[in-house]
């Protein structure tokens, strides 16, 4: 009996056909991360607090958010008692304005591993999280190290000075927001 060999050149073509559909899906998956879905509230928010001025800035950013952003989970270092106090005070004032505020404090952590984890969960199809990075107002002409990394991985990268908008064209500039 004659052994069967596939015709020359057809093996490569066969594997290409096998791989093509998943490869074609990749750009759609990436684009889907940017799709503006209509959502209904509430939206769970994870806030990464840093030390000192970073926490002050991020609480200012949150000050005008509606109650649709609930619950708000804060990630901060165990040792960062100042940030904890500022966050509790902020949420206490919110509770006086709105009826159902919660604080969930967790830590330690920095924003880069938190965001990378969120990214991985999204890529694995387990959880879709929008990553919004707001660079500190201290950064006028250069990005922080976290900023340099997350410029490529965040969904929205916000800067607060025009010089940075020029250097990093994919960033969003809304003026000074803290």
């Amino acid at each position: 009996m004659q052994p069967w060999f596939p015709p020359p050149g057809s093996t490569g073509a066969f594997f290409l056909l096998l791989l093509l559909p998943p490869l074609l899906l990749v750009p759609f998956v990436l684009l889907a991360r940017r799709r503006h879905d209509r959502r209904t509230p509430p939206l769970r928010l994870l806030v990464v607090a840093g030390s000192g001025g970073h926490t002050t800035e991020i609480l200012r950013l949150l000050s005008c958010l509606s109650e649709s952003y609930s619950p708000r989970c804060y990630v901060l270092a165990d040792s960062d008692k100042m940030s904890e106090a500022k966050i509790r005070s902020f949420e206490q004032k919110r509770a006086e304005r709105f009826s159902n505020s919660q604080i969930l404090c967790n830590g330690p952590g920095t924003c880069v591993p938190v965001c990378i984890s969120a990214l991985l969960l999204g890529l694995l199809g387990m959880k879709r999280a929008i990553i919004v990075y707001v660079e500190s107002i201290c950064r006028v002409e250069t990005l922080s190290l976290s900023g340099k990394i997350l410029y490529y991985f965040s969904d929205y990268f916000i800067v607060q000075w025009p010089a940075l908008k020029e250097k990093y064209p994919k960033s969003v500039y809304l003026g000074r927001i803290v």
């Binding site: 503006h36 879905d37 209509r38 959502r39 509230p41 939206l43 000192g52 001025g53 970073h54 002050t56 800035e57 200012r60 950013l61 949150l62 000050s63 005008c64 958010l65 509606s66 649709s68 952003y69 100042m82 106090a85 005070s89 929008i130 919004v132 707001v134 500190s136 107002i137 201290c138 950064r139 006028v140 002409e141 250069t142 922080s144 969904d155 929205y156 916000i158 000075w161 969003v172 809304l174 003026g175 000074r176 927001i177 803290v178």
Partner: protein
Amino acid sequence: RWLRGRLWGAARSCTEGGKREPFCGEWEAVEGEPAVLSSGLSPASVPPPQIGRGALQPAPQYGPAFVRDVFRFKESLAEDLRRADLVISHAGAGSCLETLEEGKPLLVVINEKLMDNHQLELARQLHKDGHVLYCNCSTLVETLQSMDLSTLKPFPPGQPEKFALFLDKVVGFE
């Protein structure tokens, strides 16, 4: 010339514990009574300054009418800021924003020994825009002697509502 009124100073963040830190030079510059007098400040007008986390612990009393005590942390500095006519501070974002929003003249002191000195960018930009004076530890006294506070411009408030609107749009809340 004599500067009337209350001077509130924040000598912060002497972070590399053990020895006296370069930023403590600001404190030393202000602490020295001859330096204070030659800068034109009235010693009686200086309320308790804030010091940050660090090894430096200035003596509670320097002179008969100068510093009585220092503090490391308060819940809120709003009251101290309201009473001040001039604030001397490091160039941290929180310190700068709080002071400028209170409408107080601000002299920021740059810590040259801080890694990559990221505070310098903000101090430089705020100075360029005419909102603050700035100097380093070694030029503090000279700056206090020669400064003209009337050249400082008001600092417009930030607009966090723009961030809220932006976020509502991108998450799909309409």
